[in-house]
Symmetry: C2
Subunit: 152 residues, 2 copies
């Protein structure tokens, strides 16, 4: 385990401890919720492994573990939309990370070019028994064209 993190289950209660002892799951990952530091909007959700969490803490720029590419992922390394860390929090069980960030570049966090990944509402007011629940796009225009940004 990294020198940055305490050991789980020794001499302190994880809920009240003032030592950071993050819990990674069986795949070595911890969920990370990402919030815009200014607006409070939840802009993305991803996973970190121990290396990504260490890099995030020591560099002040958000790093994740890409499950699709199976590699350490400096968010924004291609698009320019890096995330400067304003605050890192953890939860009662220390098995989830919440980060508040300032998004650089055009401010488009989502790979689709949208400001945030959570750009669609589940329209529960339109429930009926015959059809799936509709979604409504409330995310505004794309801030970049993914075909241009990710063309390489």
């Amino acid at each position: 385990m990294s020198a940055l993190f305490g050991k789980r289950g020794v001499s302190h209660d994880v809920e009240t401890s003032e030592v950071f002892t993050p819990k990674f799951d069986d795949s070595g990952l911890i969920p990370a919720i990402v919030q815009d530091a200014t607006s409070g909007e939840v802009i993305m959700f991803a996973f970190m492994n121990i290396q990504a969490l260490e890099k995030t803490i020591t560099t002040g720029t958000a790093h994740y573990w890409s499950r699709s590419r199976n590699k350490l992922w400096l968010k924004g390394e291609t698009s320019g939309e890096t995330q400067e860390i304003v605050e890192i929090r953890t939860d009662c069980d220390q098995d989830v990370i919440l980060i508040r960030v300032n998004v650089q570049g055009r401010g488009a966090t989502c790979h689709t070019g949208k400001r945030a990944c959570f750009y669609r509402q589940v329209e529960t007011a339109s429930l009926n028994n015959a059809a799936p629940v509709p979604l409504k796009d409330i995310g505004g225009a794309r801030l970049f064209d993914p075909k241009e940004v990710y063309k390489k």
Copy 2:
């Protein structure tokens, strides 16, 4: 699959679709981020299975899947801190749920009695090579005593 949800991978692009087609992982779960509808604070993180998501949509009150108790979990059924749904969103891949809620009762979402589960900051300003990163409790007082609330 429930009649409430569309089928994945048929006739539409999951990123642009206006049909709700949530993706559950290999364990049948989808991550759910919970935000206070008024303050925007991220107050908890949990998982839903298909039944929990259906119940959340049809009743307007948040339900989760308890991995520790291995059962459907009406949040607040013991403590009274139920969560009324204000808005449900999903992300680009439709494999994460974001809900905005009004917390009932004393407004204490965390089982520790705190307002939110994310009550500790990771003190990255106090980094040194000799000791783990400290945590700082910024969550305020407990709004209930867990020993009283969960005594049964």
